[in-house]
Chain length 204, copies 2
């Protein structure tokens, strides 16, 4: 059976859990506590040289890391990745946007405030995280102006990638009240068949 | 003809220039000066909502942004993207690694020091950039321990993505002297047919 190395509060790990659940791919979950440095050991670096969860190991020993690369692998050939070449590239555009412009601001603010409880220690840096994080949310709100989903007007792994940290952005003290289109899109994603919560570790 | 919006010192733009040159895809280059905010205008945000170069516009008006998504689009069906599903996902793993763990450290240090000449102003933050940037280089050096290229033992867009800022890392005061495998790999990439330099704006 597929093994998923994960840390349950992680939105990056949640992306993989959500997709595998929706595709009904069985997996075994092995937790690595990132707060205890369990992903920075030589043993774990043999699985992912970058020392981060999520990572998956297949029965034959092959290993794959980076949440959005894992999403792409499992979504290929399913309705959750566009079937046309340009649509695949558009999905990747939003997934790279997520990892470059969105996650480093919104997930990190959430981690400092919600996971570590260190809002005061990180007060200066949080100003920059909020400013740049709101820029990312602004770009999403503009894109959703005349769209139901991020690519091709149907639910795809681009939505999964962006949903993971957007739906918990308020844990990083982002106010989603000013983003009506994002909030409507969050509801659409949460109503997809087979949706699981970030707090669920197994699918039913 | 394809239009590439670009800023010539950008490694992210260079990735696209290098791939298009090697694939002999003709393009028209339109420069946007990021130092003058030319990518943050409403007009440019209609091309890329995230307000960054590189971005391409096709003759029929379709638009695509994010350097590594553009690489993926043009490499599909060519020898520069693995033909098998797992190989494609491995290439994406290294491209997401590049955008998440490598570029935000190595490209940003280069930008502050080499492009802006503000080493002193950013002295505190540079310490963190160097520390995390060396972690990324360490991961690359380990991966290249028994490999010639990043994926499938042949040159691919994963190598192009990682080459762009690694080969100019010394402009961000990274010392590549301690990375013999990375230096040998840089030489292998630079010796591929159709290689162009980051300073070349057109291919021959």
């Amino acid at each position: 059976m597929l093994t998923l190395y994960d840390y349950l509060p992680s939105g990056n790990g949640y992306k993989v859990r959500l997709l595998l659940s929706q595709l009904r791919v069985p997996f075994r979950l092995l937790e690595k506590d990132i707060l205890k440095g369990e992903t920075r050991t030589p043993e774990f670096r043999a699985i992912n040289p970058d020392g981060r969860i999520p990572a998956v190991v297949f029965d034959d020993g092959r290993r794959l890391a980076q949440s959005d690369a894992i999403l792409f692998y499992f979504a290929e050939g399913t309705p959750l990745l566009p079937a046309d070449r340009f649509g695949r590239a558009e999905a990747l555009q939003w997934m790279f946007f997520e990892q470059y412009s969105h996650e480093p601001q919104i997930a990190v603010a959430r981690f400092w405030i919600h996971s570590l409880g260190k809002r005061r220690e990180w007060a200066d840096r949080l100003q920059e995280k909020w400013q740049k994080g709101y820029q990312a949310l602004d770009a999403m709100e503009r894109h959703l102006d005349d769209r139901k989903f991020f690519v091709g007007e149907r639910y795809s792994i681009a939505d999964i990638a962006l949903y993971a940290y957007t739906h918990v952005a308020e844990e990083g003290d982002f106010d989603l009240g000013r983003y009506p289109r994002i909030r409507a899109w969050l509801d659409r994603v949460a109503s997809q068949p087979g949706h699981v919560l970030i707090t669920q570790s197994e699918f039913d």
